[in-house]
Amino acid sequence: MSKVVKGVLEEELQRLLALKDRYQEKMKDYPPGYLLKREMRGRIYYYLSYREGAKIKQQYLGHLETDKVKSYKDLIKRKGELQKQLSEVKKNIVYLERLLKK
């Protein structure tokens, strides 16, 4: 690999590592897990269900208005998209690290 190409790839790797940190930090802005709906005595209640280590936890949200449910669903969908983009960044980091070791 030429020195020029290696230099460019190393810079790209640094950019991706910084991007990974930024995306991981952003993930914290979103609610954990997914929205769980339960019906009790004819009334619908919502929980956030997520994994913490080996345990599955459920955070009680209570009865939610339609717009609040939509807002949670939108946030969880966006988190999924961000997770996908983060995975792509991580994949590119692995690829570049492997390439630069050669």
């Binding site: 020029v4 910084a18 991007l19 952003k26 988190k79 961000l82 983009q85």
Partner: protein, 229 residues
């Protein structure tokens, strides 16, 4: 500084010595390197550069003291002039090539334009007037370089990303816009971003928002920047 940056410096030095830097606007992915000197922010990480160095000629008839010959200047640096079938000349070395572009406005044709005062031919391209109309000077490695304002650059990248047919190029445009907008923090820069966004056509605004939506992080950053306080 890496080898490619050394090459860029030698181009800037030669153009500067001939009094041409103020008449040319550095655009394309190399601007991202120059923006490091503007932002001075450790969170700023420029995206991968291409091997082409693009210069925009903001005015079709630049007022230049005496006739210059850019071809000769670049040939003296070891670049070979290459003519395309439509007369566009670009300058090549194994590591880099240099291209000159013009903003294409309204019904102007795509025909290559001769700029006699610079001794070169430039290619008109759409969406470059946003860059040409919003320029700043940044001191980079001792050279006063004219570049588009980062706010204009990011918006232009998002506009052209929506028009790209090649997805990799579209992603690269978004990478650049994301890198710039993430560190756009100065009040005056944010105000300019808002003003420029408002001045875009409805179609261009849609293109900006649609491109940003492809990245959750960028989408959030842009929304916050465009929000009125």
């Amino acid at each position: 500084m890496n080898d490619l940056e050394d090459e860029l410096s030698s181009i800037l030095d030669a153009l500067g010595r001939n009094g041409l830097l103020k008449h040319l606007v550095l655009i394309g992915s190399w601007v991202m390197v120059v923006y490091e000197a503007y932002f001075r922010d450790s969170n700023y990480s420029p995206s991968i550069r291409t091997t082409d160095v693009d210069f925009l000629i903001p005015k079709r008839h630049p007022r230049i003291d005496g006739k210059k010959d850019v071809s000769r200047i670049l040939e003296a640096l070891g670049f070979s002039e290459v003519f395309s079938s439509d007369g566009w000349c670009t300058y090549h070395k194994p590591e880099l090539h240099v291209e000159f572009l013009l903003p294409r406005i309204g019904p102007q044709s795509d025909d290559v334009v001769s700029i006699p005062s610079l001794g070169l031919n430039a290619r008109p391209l759409r969406h470059l007037s946003l860059l040409a109309d919003n320029i700043i000077a940044i001191n980079f490695q001792g050279f006063d370089i004219t570049v588009p304002h980062p706010a204009a650059y990011a918006l232009q990248k998002l506009i052209i990303s929506a028009r790209r047919k090649i997805s990799e190029k579209a992603q690269k445009d978004i990478d650049q816009a994301e890198a710039v907008l993430t560190v756009l923090k100065k009040r005056s820069d944010i105000e300019l971003l808002r003003t420029l966004f408002e001045q875009l056509t409805k179609k261009q605004r849609k293109a900006v928002l649609d491109s940003a939506k492809k990245r959750v992080f960028l989408d959030d950053v842009l929304k916050k920047l465009l929000e009125n306080e």
